[in-house]
Amino acid sequence: MTRAEYFEIIAQSSEKVLVPLAEKILQISSMIIKKKPEKGMLMLQTRDGAADTLFNLGEILVTECMVELDGVEGYMMMPGNVPEKAIAGAVIEAALAGGHNLSEEIKATLAQEKKRVNKEKAKEVFDVEKTAVRFEIMD
């Protein structure tokens, strides 16, 4: 899996999973906070379906954070005001980028999280599929 794919899984993982995992990493690694977790806004740019015009839909509240773990930089941006989750995410991102000793455990945990999230999404899709319309032609 690529760094970008891991980023996506980290960003959608639960805080209850990310924070203990980051704490475990920090027990054997040193961290410098390069950008402390701070909330702010991200402008959502979109393209319209009529003319492909680029326009600003509105903003989303995000928390952004950057760390350096054993000399390797890690970054995270997540929706919402989630400072602890964001710093944990940045630590994990850096750990994976730097090939940390706990990489295998991190990957296994993230694989579980991906499975959990996909299960929730699949349930939503499954419920929706049941509302597909089957037209009957009337005589």
Binding site: A4, A11, L42, L44, L61, M66, P79, A132
Partner: protein, 355 residues
């Protein structure tokens, strides 16, 4: 008469504020929690996020609680809060065709590729007051028949109906505008670029937009469209990773998108397209936006809904409520001036009458 500065009423103002708070919590009913608002007043949360122009369910719920259900006030609170936040940057352009669709209907063809998915909807049900909710107890909701393995995620995206029509050569391809105007950074100058129009509509007040769109449908405007596609679901939010430069996904937003077709003549008879996209689930607003996008493309300017300045200056709920409600503030000097003028005119009228 000159202006006179006065200072008074601080106690009255403080006590008035306390009274509002007393009325909010001074009763025996359980106090509202943010999870209750987020999960059970979803329409209100989505309206406030869209009109406050800030996607965050937690803050929208807080604003609704603080505003005691006054949704324009709640949207104002969100907009005001935004001024305290730094803008971290811009997302990569979001495309409606990437939506993880949870509802999708078309009024143009019954057999649209991918089919019609009703999702959660009461559009085709009898809507009457449900008195059972007055004494409701929490029970397990009835699960839709479930005997499938749900661990694997199937992609749930659909081709856009407008793209299918465009390939058939029956929908116009508009000129692309790469420049993205930002109405939160610059004042609109008319005629406004399309990006400014769409941004204004996206954060407009649902009721005002509904009124103007309805006026067009009723004949006070040129547009009465057919909905090519109305869809809602999750759109991916992506950014450029500042370290790797790669595009990464940070999460998803819920959104509603509407594309509406209108017959028109441009060298040949063809369908024009109106576009609506709003934060959260709000089909009424997305449809109204698509109608107004199309009325504003008109060159006739015969009705209010075709007038850019009229539409864009009057659909913002925060602007309009602020201006209307400022009438409650003291206007003593101005009124005194009106009164003086009125008396003088009356005196002159009396004098002429006597002559």
């Amino acid at each position: 008469m000159g202006f006179v500065s006065v200072k008074a009423g601080w106690d009255a103002v403080e006590n008035a504020e306390k009274l509002v708070e007393q009325r909010r919590i001074g009763h025996d009913a359980p106090l509202l929690t943010l999870p209750q608002i987020k999960t059970q007043l979803r329409g209100a949360v989505d309206k406030v996020m869209s009109e406050g122009s800030l996607y965050d369910e937690e803050l929208a719920a807080l604003a609704i609680k603080q505003a005691q259900g006054d949704l324009i006030e709640a949207s104002f609170l969100l907009r005001a809060y935004k001024t305290t936040l730094e803008r971290k940057g811009y997302s990569q352009p979001i495309l409606g065709k990437e939506m993880r669709v949870l509802r999708r209907i078309s009024s143009t063809f019954k057999d649209v590729p991918g089919g019609q998915i009703l999702g959660e909807s009461l559009d085709y049900s009898l809507r009457l007051l449900n008195f059972n909710l007055m004494e409701e107890k929490k029970t397990e909701t009835e699960d839709i028949e479930d005997n499938q393995e749900k661990d694997t995620l199937r992609e749930f995206s659909y081709p856009k109906v407008s793209e299918i029509l465009r390939k058939e050569g029956i929908v116009v391809t508009e000129k692309k505008e790469e420049f993205s105007f930002d109405i939160t950074r610059e004042s609109i100058v008319f005629p406004a670029p399309r990006s400014a129009i769409l941004q204004s509509l996206a954060r407009g007040e649902e009721g005002a937009m509904l009124c103007l769109a309805y006026s067009s449908l009723r004949g006070y405007g040129p547009v009465h469209p057919t909905i090519a596609e109305l869809r809602r679901g999750y759109l991916p939010v992506r950014i450029k990773h500042p370290i790797t430069g790669e595009t990464v996904k940070i999460g998803e937003i819920r959104a509603t998108e509407c594309e509406a077709v209108v017959p028109e003549y441009r060298e040949k008879q063809i369908f024009g397209l109106g576009y609506g996209l709003v934060l959260g689930y709000n089909e009424r607003k997305a449809i109204s936006m698509a109608v107004l996008d199309k009325t504003l493309q008109s060159t006739e300017h015969k009705s209010p809904s075709e007038d850019e300045e009229f539409v864009l200056y009057h659909i913002d709920g925060i602007d309009s409520s602020g201006f209307v409600e400022h009438l409650k503030l003291p206007h003593y000097i101005f009124f005194q001036s009106d009164l003086d003028r009125l008396r003088k005119i009356q005196e002159k009228s009396d004098t002429y009458a006597k002559k």
